[in-house]
């Protein structure tokens, strides 16, 4: 019984640390992750969902993510993309060798602050509600046009997100599975459409030192923004819509330290780059 309980605690801790969802970290405990993500896209989901060819746009994001338990039930999350680099490829014409110059911009990115409060905790399910504030600290216009004006690349969307979210998680102990679901409403400023967001996550920790997860995340805009304002390109545009799914693999090198990698693929997407989001990271629990 003791062994089983310990196992449950360990699994739960992993869930708290890695899965988020309805779990909170617990007072004084937490999780930190240093990540590098890359999207390299030579195609784009048009507003009707059709995939069209584009000049390759890349987005590289170096970020720090932190979960910290203020109390057993109240948790602070910080997502800070401390270095975001966006590039537009040169175009070299095959026959003439002519070069159409590309572009680049580097900056701090849009940062999220979130407070999560666990409102229900039972053996069957844990439920948490959260408020996320998305601070527009990235650049909404960077790089150089041939006229020398700053404008054509961006590392942020320039609007202030206010996302309220409800998440529920369940452990299937003694089986090594867990799952989380969540739904939220994102109120956006500067003429951007508000959004409905939902997520689903299924995790498995049956292999020693490994935690595997399948994550699905969706954003659905309500199209109530200003069509002529707040528009962007890449992953920062208005009325972005997608269902993203993909695996994430976490390997515990030590009990409190590990490495993770994942891929986010998108389906049913509109107005966003059509390319996988690759991510690797180092995480530590405390």
């Amino acid at each position: 019984m003791k062994k089983s309980l310990l196992y449950l605690i360990l699994i739960s801790f992993h869930f708290q640390a890695l899965a988020g969802g309805g779990w909170t970290a617990g007072k004084g405990q937490g999780y930190a992750k240093l990540s590098q993500n890359a999207i390299i896209a030579d195609q784009f989901f048009a507003p009707d969902g059709e995939i069209i060819d584009i000049t390759t746009i890349s987005l590289y994001t170096s970020s720090l993510y932190l979960e910290y338990g203020i109390t057993d039930k109240l948790e602070l999350n910080v997502y800070m993309p401390f270095f975001v680099r966006s590039t537009l490829n040169n175009v070299e014409r095959r026959q003439s060798g002519r070069i159409e110059p590309g572009d680049e911009v580097n900056s701090f990115g849009d940062t999220d602050l979130r407070l999560k409060y666990q409102i229900h905790n039972s053996e069957k399910v844990v439920i948490a509600a959260s408020l996320l504030l998305g601070l527009p600290l990235g650049k909404t216009a960077g790089g150089k046009t041939k006229n020398g004006d700053d404008r054509i690349l961006q590392t942020g969307d320039g609007e202030f997100n206010q996302l309220i979210m409800l998440e529920a998680s369940k452990s299937f102990y003694p089986k090594a599975f867990y799952s989380s679901i969540g739904i939220g409403f994102n109120n956006r400023s500067n003429g951007f459409s508000d959004e409905i967001r939902w997520l689903f996550e299924l995790g498995y920790s049956g292999f020693e030192d490994w935690l595997l997860a399948l994550k699905i995340y969706s954003i659905h805009p309500l199209k109530n923004g200003n069509e002529a304002e707040g528009a962007g390109m890449g992953v920062f545009g208005n009325n972005i819509q997608y269902i993203s799914f993909g695996p994430e693999i976490n390997y515990f090198i030590k009990n409190d330290f590990g490495i993770s990698g994942g891929i986010g693929l998108a389906i049913a997407s509109k107005n966003i780059l059509a390319a996988p989001n690759y991510g690797i990271g180092l995480f530590k629990t405390f």
């Binding site: 537009l88 095959r94 054509i152």
Partner: protein, 308 residues
């Protein structure tokens, strides 16, 4: 573990990559390099050419050199001209069905003879039926000394225009007409005048690639005979960073970016005006079929207005 930590910063940086794409297919161009030329009998001059292939790339070819009056000049197939006797001849080159414009070669006996006649640019090469132009001509010796003389004026088509002995031109019907001024056997290069009811073109924007674009685009000549593009107060489009207006002969984003005429960046709906002549001095109402709203960074066409 330390090595893993060192790996992350290496991923922070990535150079700007390069996309390899085919060149845009354009109309081939064949041009004689050089203007109308006057020579004394016995002189030798070398003419050259420039050929741009379907990708707009300069290419060495073996064109056929043509001469309309072999009594006046000898023309080799390398472009070398030797003047034989007083008179005039046009030369031009041809290559695979493509012909260059002609260059007028005038050969004179001495430096006092009229060697060149120029028709002053009236400033307006496009008129409507019923409109008139007062044309002026000047004659020069081979040493560029102007000669005061009386000119004979003629047209290649009297069905659509008339001209009197003073160079007073009257447009009668639509079409294109060449005007020439002459003194004895020496004739000017023709001045081409277009007679058209159309002094402007209007088209409506439609969205492309599921983006929205609407409103009116108008190409017109202003009072200074400059070709202008105007977007009306009803013009609306979606925007991305780097939304530009182009004139082009294709709606493909890559081709527009590669071979279209970039007029400028826009950040708002409503009226805009662009001076086309300032960017392409040879542009006229027929030069470009489309006005394009282009997301330049990604080469996505948001909308197009088709003048055809």
């Amino acid at each position: 573990m330390r090595n893993l930590l060192l790996l992350l910063p290496l991923l922070l940086y990535s150079c700007i990559g390069t996309d390899i794409k085919d060149d845009v297919i354009v109309d081939r161009q064949l041009e004689l390099i050089g203007m109308d030329t006057s020579l004394l009998v016995g002189e030798i001059v070398q003419f050259n050419y420039e050929y741009l292939n379907q990708y707009g790339i300069q290419e060495e070819i073996l064109p056929i050199w043509n001469n309309t009056n072999q009594d006046v000049i000898d023309l080799s197939q390398t472009g070398l001209i030797r003047s034989n006797s007083p008179g005039q001849s046009f030369i031009y080159i041809a290559y695979e069905g493509l012909f260059s414009d002609s260059v007028l070669i005038t050969v004179v006996e001495n430096s006092q003879s009229i060697a060149r006649i120029e028709i002053a640019n009236p400033g307006l090469n496009r008129v409507m039926p019923g409109e008139t132009l007062q044309l002026q001509a000047r004659a020069f010796t081979i040493e560029n000394v102007e000669i005061d003389t009386i000119f004979n004026w003629t047209l290649n088509n009297f069905q659509i225009a008339s001209i009197d002995s003073t160079g007073f031109f009257t447009a009668l019907d639509i079409g294109m007409v060449n005007v020439s001024a002459s003194v004895g056997p020496i004739v000017s290069s023709p001045l081409q005048i277009t007679i058209s009811q159309e002094t402007q073109k209007t088209a409506q924007f439609t969205g492309m690639n599921s983006y929205n674009a609407q409103g009116t685009a108008t190409l017109f000549f202003n009072d200074d005979n400059e070709l202008m593009l105007s977007l009306g107060s009803d013009f609306q489009t979606e925007f991305a960073l780097g939304t530009f207006i182009y004139l082009a002969n294709s709606t493909s984003g890559s081709e527009v970016k590669g071979s279209g005429l970039e007029l400028g960046n826009i950040t708002s709906n409503g009226m805009h005006e662009f001076n086309v002549t300032a960017l392409d001095p040879n542009a006229d109402l027929e030069s470009y079929r489309y006005v394009i709203v282009l997301c330049k960074p990604a080469s996505i066409t948001f909308g197009a207005a088709d003048f055809n």
